[in-house]
């Protein structure tokens, strides 16, 4: 196997994991799949960093592994254990509907990105599938923890696209750090809001 093939394999597994997040009925398992997604994406970045001798990409891989692969899932799993309500199935999102939607938007994304892929000469479909599937996770779930998991997927997908395209500026690392700060803010809001109002379900705000 070439380095390129190993990196692609990591990327494909990360994309499949994002589908698993979308399809999962139970919040806790969705969090675990999100960790798996980040773990394999970090592997993808690590292989790229090693092949291109890029210190910034290596740092990005470390950030992905530590923050989104370990710390965020760990905090969320602890929170879920504390609130027994999360052990129950979400009633508002069913896996069958989510998977159908996921497949449809993935197909649209691949067709839409094809002309750009040809011009740029890099594979963009996989990150874009991950992006659309993660956005679907946010849209189809009302639960704040599930939405945060979706946001982590969105962040992963954009960094995946950046590394796939071979962007070699410090900007990508800075962006990754900033998006992690937003993730941390979201996490902080969930934890604080739960203490005050119980589980955070984003209902329609009535005017």
């Amino acid at each position: 196997m070439t380095v390129q093939e190993i990196a692609s394999l990591f990327g494909v597994v990360a994309v499949i994991s994002s589908f698993m997040v979308l399809a999962e009925d139970y919040i806790r398992r969705a969090v675990v799949w999100s960790a798996v997604e980040s773990f394999f994406l970090a592997g993808f970045m690590g292989v790229y960093a090693w092949a291109s001798r890029s210190l910034e990409t290596a740092a990005l891989a470390a950030l992905t592994l530590v923050v989104r692969g370990v710390i965020v899932p760990e905090i969320l799993v602890k929170d879920i254990k504390r609130e027994r309500v999360w052990e129950h199935r979400e009633l508002t999102a069913t896996s069958r509907r989510a998977v159908v939607w996921g497949l449809v938007v993935s197909l649209v994304a691949v067709v839409a990105m094809r002309p750009l892929e040809v011009k740029v000469g890099r594979v963009l479909s996989l990150p874009v599938i991950m992006l659309t599937v993660s956005m679907l996770t946010i849209i189809l779930r009302e639960n704040a923890i599930a939405q945060l998991v979706g946001y982590v997927g969105v962040e992963n997908s954009v960094l995946y696209a950046g590394v796939s395209l071979g962007v070699k500026t410090p900007l990508l690392l800075e962006v990754g750090a900033l998006m992690d700060v937003i993730g941390a803010v979201l996490l902080g809001v969930i934890l604080s809001a739960e203490k005050r109002y119980g589980p955070l379900e984003v209902e329609e705000l009535v005017g």
Binding site: L116, I182, V185, A193, L200, G207
Partner: protein, 457 residues
């Protein structure tokens, strides 16, 4: 005076005001922030008036006519909002974040908007916009009501996700053009340029509140403290639009002409949808939020049309400036009604003209200003946008025209209903004076712009 010195001093003042209030006793925070904000405005005003030559770049920052107007608008709203916070923050009963953070966050919010509008690098412009999301969400979270937490959550998740698509456009642009410098961004292939512009429209358009990515806007504006709503509406939305306009211009120059009708269509649809939503909305602040969406739709369509008529950029920047003051007057009115009387619904307000004439004046002038009534400077911008589109994109001109008309009657009718009648709620004299002055300033600014201002080349 050297524009660079003025700008650097303004940034330094905003930066200091972001940190210092944390270490001050509570009674000193409002005076300090207000003085700092008015100082920043004093430094920014000459930039907006002088209009230094186009493309005056200084490292990572760029002072061109577009950013000069944005610097002036942001500083003006920062100054007025800091002043108006005196009538907002002390009336809050429950806090989610410590109230001492509010003053520093307000300054940091102005700072991030200013830096987003002046960044010459689209990557850093994106980062400042994202930073502004964090800061403004924290400002919404200062109040501990459940609706505020939900509003902030939705704002964070939707705006950040949308901006991620904007980041994708930045990444593709860097790969294709080899740079993210907006002054030298050029693409060899029109297909790539079109893709970059399309992704940027979705990504930055989310932050502008364009249809159909506007879901966060009424929640965030509706739940934020009124001074923050004014800054969100008058400064943040146009700053994101300016970033998109810069990317769009670079893409159109590279042959992506298909972007223009798409931009115009999205703008026209935004105005139409916002106008229709405004007609059925009962909550005061959410109505004003949809009005912001309506004006951003007009501005987006107008910037699209400016590809056919470059002279339209000047009137559009005037529209942005006057809208900022007009909308501030409206939001401060809503804020006073909410804080002092617990009124959130339009149906609960009558007779404001007799009970609180200052609020009535600010609200009426603000509504007329943002809906493009003459003699406000929004009027020529809207008319010129419509006439340009009637020539080049007639279908979109019809959509936009219908949207503008519905929005005009919807907002002005609702505001007039608040003003006429008897038995209205009273308001502190200071708040009335402030709101009346802000509304009058929108009229004064319009008269200045229409008579003496040198249009943007």
């Amino acid at each position: 005076m050297d524009p660079t010195v003025l700008f650097t001093a303004e940034i330094a003042v905003m930066g200091a005001a972001s940190v210092v209030p944390l270490f001050l006793p509570w009674e000193a925070r409002w005076p300090f922030t207000t003085i700092a904000a008015w100082t920043a405005f004093g430094l920014a005003l000459p930039l907006a008036v002088m209009q230094p030559e186009a493309g005056l770049a200084h490292g990572a920052l760029c002072l061109d006519p577009l950013s000069d107007v944005m610097v002036g608008v942001t500083a003006a709203l920062y100054a007025v909002s800091a002043t108006a916070s005196r009538y907002s923050l002390p009336m809050m009963k429950r806090f989610f974040l410590p109230d001492r953070l509010y003053w520093g966050l307000l300054s940091a919010f102005a700072l991030t908007i200013t830096l987003a509008a002046t960044s010459v690098d689209v990557g850093y412009a994106w980062m400042w916009l994202e930073a502004s999301t964090i800061v403004s969400a924290a400002l919404i979270l200062v109040e501990g009501e459940k609706a505020c937490i939900e509003g902030a959550w939705r704002y964070l998740i939707v705006a950040s996700t949308g901006l991620s698509i904007g980041l994708l456009s930045v990444v593709v642009a860097i790969k294709a053009a080899g740079t993210s410098d907006l002054l030298s961004l050029a693409f060899k292939d029109p297909t790539v340029a079109s893709a970059v512009a399309g992704l940027a429209l979705v990504g930055f358009g989310t932050k502008v509140g364009l249809f159909p990515m506007h879901a966060w806007l009424p929640d965030a504006h509706g739940t934020a403290p009124a001074p923050v709503s004014a800054m969100l509406s008058g400064a943040l939305l146009p700053a994101a639009l300016v970033v998109y306009v810069r990317v769009m211009s670079a893409c159109v120059s590279s042959g992506a002409h298909s972007v223009v009708p798409v931009t115009v269509t999205v703008g026209a649809l935004t105005t139409l949808v916002a106008a229709l939503l405004m007609t059925v909305q009962r909550n005061i602040k959410r109505t004003f939020a949809y009005s912001s969406m309506d004006v951003m739709g007009v501005a987006t369509a107008g910037f699209g049309a400016s590809v056919y008529d470059p002279g339209l950029v000047g009137p559009l920047m005037a529209l942005i400036a006057v809208h900022a003051l007009g909308k501030a007057g409206l939001f401060y009115t809503a804020g006073v009604l909410h804080r002092y009387h617990g009124i959130k619904r339009l149906d609960d307000v009558r007779g404001l003209g007799r009970s609180a004439p200052g609020l009535a004046l600010g609200a009426v002038l603000g509504a007329l200003a943002v809906t493009g009534a003459p003699p406000f400077a929004t009027f020529p911008a809207e008319v010129r946008t419509l006439t340009d589109l009637a020539t080049h994109e007639p279908a979109q001109a019809v959509l936009l025209g219908v949207g503008m008309t519905v929005a005009f009657f919807a907002l002005n009718f609702k505001v007039v209903r608040m003003v006429v009648g008897d038995g209205g709620p009273e308001a502190p004299r200071g708040a009335q004076a402030l709101v009346g002055t802000v509304g009058s300033a929108a009229l004064g600014l319009s008269l200045y712009l229409l008579t003496t201002w040198k249009p943007i080349p």
